[in-house]
Symmetry: C2
Subunit: 400 residues, 2 copies
């Protein structure tokens, strides 16, 4: 691991089994872990202002290199003084590498986030070519040809100026076979070296770089990838690629992969944010989790609730909430629950009112924030297992 306190320092201050509570010290302040990372895909957490996201208690958000490369472009953001200043966010920022999105285009399993913002008419980007050098693709906005490679991804992320950049990788899908997954993983390792070489020479001094472990569902490949990434000299390690076809397989892959990673390094699970998965990840020793689910559910009228039987979800677009005077979730401190009942929120959601998107976004991010804050307190008091059981048993995160 690199040792550069100027860049990123990870302090673990409590452990409970494999779970740990820590603080990630970034160039833009501390991030308490375990942390959930909301997505500010295009330079804004949809419907919320940066100051509101901070007021919810979040210390780290994620911007998407692919989307910001397409619009407004890294040069415009660099001219504003970087993504922090562009969007008025004063705390820590991480950017992904763009790899996930361009390979989602290539593999046909287009990422939901990409689908979510096709222009009316369903226009989407497309991949022109993939080779050792990088990926050539067309912008989903105007068809312009763009190129992402280890170097251009790092260059873009340097311009965005995030506190943490992610190395450019191929995110292999579940339907890729073992051989493809192995070859792709090895290229991802070569790309990691190129990312670090570029970053060492040109990267911002205070920007950390996380490497990404691939290898799909194959134990030997995950082992090989964990060793390669750890050896490359990164500031943190993220787990990417397919984790299997269901939650059970995902937990198996994580249970074998996490212990392969160096102990003291911050560990990021990419793109996972279901309540039970997040708790399972924390139990295994993962520290940070980014996911579109809480904000995407909000846009589609679904609230997170302490209801494991319904995957912790309450669909406000159902007609059945008409006349229901209860809040989404009793005792939740968010404005949706403090000021409104399900009847009204359901009406707003069914009518696709902006106010509903915003209120559900505030609610879902409050839920996730309370969930990880509770996990942190539980780890500090050696009670993570009962905390996790209480949540998966239906207790509210703000009560547990």
């Amino acid at each position: 691991m690199r040792e550069d306190p100027q860049r990123l320092r990870f302090e673990i201050d409590a452990r409970d089994g494999s779970a740990r509570a820590g603080v990630l010290h970034t160039a833009h302040g501390p991030v308490e872990t375990p942390a959930f990372i909301p997505l500010a895909t295009k330079g804004t957490v949809r419907g919320l202002e940066s100051a509101e996201v901070a007021a919810l208690g979040y210390e780290l958000i994620l911007g998407n290199t692919y989307h910001l490369l397409v619009s407004p472009g890294p040069d415009r953001i660099a001219a504003a003084g970087g993504l922090h200043r562009f969007m008025g966010w004063e705390r820590a920022l991480i950017t992904d590498s763009g790899g996930f999105q361009v390979f989602s285009l290539a593999h046909g399993g287009v990422a939901d986030e990409v689908k979510g913002k096709g222009r009316p008419g369903g226009e989407q980007g497309s991949v022109v070519s993939i080779d050792e050098e990088g990926v050539r693709f067309r912008s989903y906005r105007d068809g312009t040809e763009l190129f992402l490679s280890p170097e251009t991804s790092m260059e873009t992320q340097a311009k965005l100026g995030a506190d943490i950049a992610l190395a450019f990788d191929e995110c292999t899908p579940y339907h890729a076979d073992r051989e493809y997954t192995a070859r792709s993983m090895q290229r991802t390792h070569r790309w990691l070296d190129r990312c670090l070489a570029w970053h060492g020479e040109h990267g911002p001094e205070r920007q950390a770089v996380f490497g990404i472990v691939q290898g799909g569902v194959h134990e030997d490949l995950r082992r090989e990838s964990a060793a390669a990434v750890a050896a490359a000299g990164v500031d943190g390690i993220a787990i990417g690629g397919t984790l299997g076809r269901d939650k059970e397989e995902m937990r198996g892959v994580l249970a074998l992969t996490v212990p392969l990673l160096p102990e003291g390094v911050p560990k990021h699970l990419l793109g996972i944010g279901d309540v039970d998965d997040l708790l399972a990840g924390i139990a295994l020793g993962l520290d940070v989790f980014d996911c579109a689910i809480p904000t995407r559910l909000a846009r589609h009228g679904t609230a997170l609730v302490p209801d494991p039987a319904n995957r912790f979800r309450l669909n406000l677009r159902s007609a059945k909430w008409e006349g229901d005077r209860a809040p989404i979730a009793a005792d939740c401190p968010c404005p949706a629950c403090q000021h409104h009942d399900r009847d009204y929120l359901s009406y707003l959601s069914r009518n696709e009112e902006l106010t509903a998107v915003r209120l559900l976004c505030l609610h879902n991010l409050t839920f996730m924030r309370e969930l990880v804050a509770g996990a942190r307190r539980a780890i500090q008091t050696d009670s993570f297992a009962p905390y996790s059981a209480s949540i998966t048993g239906g207790e509210s995160p703000w009560k547990a």
Copy 2:
């Protein structure tokens, strides 16, 4: 005029020429005048929560009977305890009668608000029949046949429970000829009597009723209508119908109509909210103004600014703001101006991000609130004319 302090009391505490500063005492608290009334068309000020609208300083908002009749329906709102409780708004509420929207459908000049919310595909409502009894029309949502008449409008408004209900009228368009306008006006007067008769028997005790003066651009008709509405026994008077083809004609019609109205009654100018028109209306002695413009502009990426040369508008969807580090308006206290520059807001607006709609909504409503608050202070210090001149000369409302 009715004299019922339980219902509505209008206190004029300062005059400056014909302009006046007052307080409208409603069943849900005081409303300082002159007042701008934001639209909560469908039971929400788009993108904002009720508590936020109150925090901006607004004491009175307007709900639309037509839209709320179509969805979610008055019975559901009544079951929630009325529109105040349904939407979590604790201050004063006014509802329009639905007449404007159904006659907009009939006259082909469909109201912008109605257009704004056609379903994707452009489905719109349509009028089936208009007669002395009322208007039969089809829901823009599902084609259901609905009926609005003086009695059903008042009954709907009684269920919504607004502090102020508007009488059911025909809003005559500019292209209607004198004869049509005269006949329509006389029917509107008969409808006013029916509204008051229904309300006297069935209306909520603390709900006030405003009558609407019609008569188009014709002096004698406006005179006849003003006399009829004043004689009917209403709690306030609104000016409706066409005011002419341009601002000059509008000011002429208002200059002849306003002096015809009883002095001490609250006077509402329907649907007008351009900055200069609002100042002209205040100068004539009008007290309250509702208008979709500030919030509609926000949804289309336009901010209100102290720039009379550009109709007080700044179009953030223009590419020319790229790299502009200035806020929308210097010294504006809203979060858009306090935290963000034109470069970022333009980027968000051009990408139709919800955050832009929300921030511009906050900005435009801040602008309007400062504008009328400044007018009130100016009237109280006998300086309305110089205040108005400073604004139409390009001074910021928060400075003037």
